[in-house]
């Protein structure tokens, strides 16, 4: 983003914006603080801002002590591994298929190009509830419910519209004269794509990749209804721990959410300049 000189604020502006930003961020900050509190501190009224931090909650996410004094795994590592594996596999697949399609939509328009693109975006704008009823039945019949293949297939198609629209927006941004002159010099279409076009959209490819990873990492409804005990992802595991507010171990829950948030923080920071394009599926670039 570029800025005008007439519009520059000093440290005074930092103070005002900083205050607002800190208040805005408070709910997240509160949850992170809670993750480091002992059970008593977490439940204290009035709430404690200053306390002795403990890592006990983070430990209890992964291991617990049984009544006989044995230390056993809670199985939470499996949910984290599932989340990473399922998101990784489906996003990679969607990105490969989606990039090829996006290139075609950008350079070799089909008859009814816009109609295809509209239908593709619509499948993504649909409320999940519309898709999930038939998918649920389909998975039940084919036995895909609760399997890795099932949820990866579903998330691949969930990420496809996003990948296609994002990558098309990056391809559309390129200067085509370079490609045309390479073609004049006798390069094949495949060579143009591999040696000239692809290297220019690497940054866009990376942005699309991590953005899709986060969307998939965060996804809840499909995972709720279509994963089983073996393939459960973190959001489902987190949601299943809150039945009523009584008996919820807020410290442990906060620790789990804090761990779950780390990748999201890193990505949001790294992608700051691509956020606008990402959250609008590439429809708004600047």
């Amino acid at each position: 983003m570029s800025f005008r000189k007439h519009n520059e604020g000093g440290w005074g502006q930092t103070l005002v914006s900083g205050l607002v930003a800190v208040i805005y961020f408070a709910p997240v900050f509160w949850m992170i603080l809670t993750a480091f509190k002992t059970r008593q501190d977490a439940l204290a009224i009035p709430p404690k801002l200053i306390f002795t931090p403990t890592l006990e909650n983070f430990r209890s996410v992964f291991v617990e002590v049984t009544s006989s004094g044995e230390v056993v795994s809670t199985g939470a590592w499996l949910y984290f591994a599932n989340s990473a594996f399922i998101a990784g596999a489906s996003v990679l697949l969607a990105l490969i298929i989606g990039t090829l399609a996006a290139y075609a939509f950008s350079r070799y328009p089909l008859k009814g190009n816009d109609t295809y693109l509209f239908i593709i975006l619509t499948t993504r704008m649909l409320p999940p509830i519309v898709v999930i009823i038939p998918i649920f039945l389909l998975f039940r019949i084919t036995g895909l419910s609760g399997t890795y293949i099932g949820i990866i297939l579903l998330y691949t198609s969930f990420n496809l519209p996003f990948s296609i629209w994002m990558m098309k927006s990056f391809f559309d941004d390129l200067d085509r004269e370079v490609e045309d002159s390479a073609r004049m010099d006798g390069s094949s279409d495949w060579a143009v794509f591999g040696r000239i076009v692809l290297p220019q959209v690497l940054a866009g490819l990376a942005a699309t990749l991590v953005f899709a990873l986060i969307l998939t990492w965060n996804e809840f409804i499909f995972a709720l209804l279509l994963t089983g005990p073996e393939t459960r992802t973190v959001p489902v595991a987190i949601a299943s721990t809150i039945g009523g507010s009584i008996g919820v171990d807020w410290g442990k829950l906060s620790a789990m959410i804090t761990l779950f948030l780390i990748p999201v923080f890193i990505v949001t920071f790294a992608l700051q300049n691509q956020l606008l394009r990402g959250v609008t599926f590439g429809t708004i670039r600047k």
């Binding site: 961020f25 409804i221 999201v264």
Partner: protein, 310 residues
């Protein structure tokens, strides 16, 4: 002796490749894997549930479904409960999107200037929209909790009584609206910021020469540049909020009673708790219809904006 057979096999193999590689087939070839995946995983199931919406199928019964024609649609549209859910959804959409526009615009004005540490502070404000609905739902469940929550503690400082925002229907709607608006105001901010940055410098310089007032400068220079993006933000957020499911499911579970049950939550209940699969499919198609109308409007405006820029 075997040579000719091998030879023809090779040429025909090459022939297929050459046929596929023809320039006029390039587009379809590259698009095919994507279209096939979407057909298999999205379009076919959608057509299936469209078909189901005309029967009286229940996923937990073995009985052969009976063809009911439009009965599910007629029943749903004549059902007061469905209209109540539409009203609830409308209230949440209006409240939340309205709040997002106000807060988002305010935040954008705060961050439009360049100042020290801007990038770091912007990061704090942008984070909420990158979070999972599950995280946000749980933050706010804790925040609203009458015994442990900060909100209750804060109110109790003035009233001396614990405060349960989710105990009354109006309070519960507010609880959802605030959580959703908190999560998505940064989205509006991001779009408005993009508009603010696109205002050409010379316009402000000219305004300075003319000694135009702040309000006039805003009305004649800034606003025309951001209004298109505000409209897009409004539509995009309306589509998304219209589908609200996760936050309601996690924070209020539709309660108290059915006060915060949105149409998406209602469709979920119909389908997965009451197993009225066909009715739920019909309900889903009603939602789908509205989303398609709004999405076409959004894309139409996006296209208009892009062609203006070129």
């Amino acid at each position: 002796m075997h040579l000719p057979a091998a030879f023809t096999a090779r040429t025909s193999g090459r022939g297929i490749l050459r046929w596929l590689n023809a320039p006029e087939r390039r587009g379809p070839l590259l698009v095919a894997p994507a279209i096939l995946t979407l057909l298999l995983v999205n379009i076919l199931p959608l057509l299936w549930s469209f078909g189901l919406s005309f029967f009286n199928y229940r996923a937990n019964r073995m009985a052969t479904p009976r063809f009911d024609g439009l009965e599910n649609y007629v029943d749903l549209l004549g059902d007061d409960r469905v209209w109540e859910r539409f009203v609830t959804t409308g209230l949440i959409v209006t409240g939340s999107v309205g709040l997002q526009l106000v807060v988002g615009f305010g935040l954008a004005m705060l961050f439009a200037r360049k100042f020290p540490l801007r990038r770091v502070l912007l990061m704090l404000v942008l984070t909420p929209m990158m979070l999972s609905f599950v995280s946000v739902g749980i933050f706010f469940k804790l925040f609203y909790d009458p015994t442990l929550g900060l909100l209750s503690w804060f109110v109790a400082m003035f009233t001396g009584e614990p405060f349960a925002i989710m105990a009354t229907p109006a309070g519960a709607i507010w609880a959802i609206v605030i959580a959703d608006a908190w999560m998505w105001s940064p989205f509006v901010m991001l779009l408005v910021l993009a508009g603010l940055v696109s205002v050409p410098d010379y316009l402000y310089e000219a305004a300075q020469v003319d000694r135009a007032s702040h309000w006039r400068r805003f009305k004649t220079i800034t606003f025309p540049y951001v209004k298109g993006l505000i409209l897009l933000a409004l539509l995009f957020r309306t589509i998304e909020t219209f589908k609200t499911f996760e936050l309601v499911y996690l924070i209020t579970a539709g309660g108290p009673g059915t006060a915060t049950e949105t149409i998406a939550v209602y469709a979920y209940r119909l389908g997965f708790q009451n197993f009225r699969t066909s009715e739920a499919s019909a309900m889903a198609y009603l939602i789908l219809f509205i989303v398609i109308v709004l999405t076409s409007l959004y894309l139409y405006l996006v296209k208009q904006r892009n062609s203006e820029e070129v």
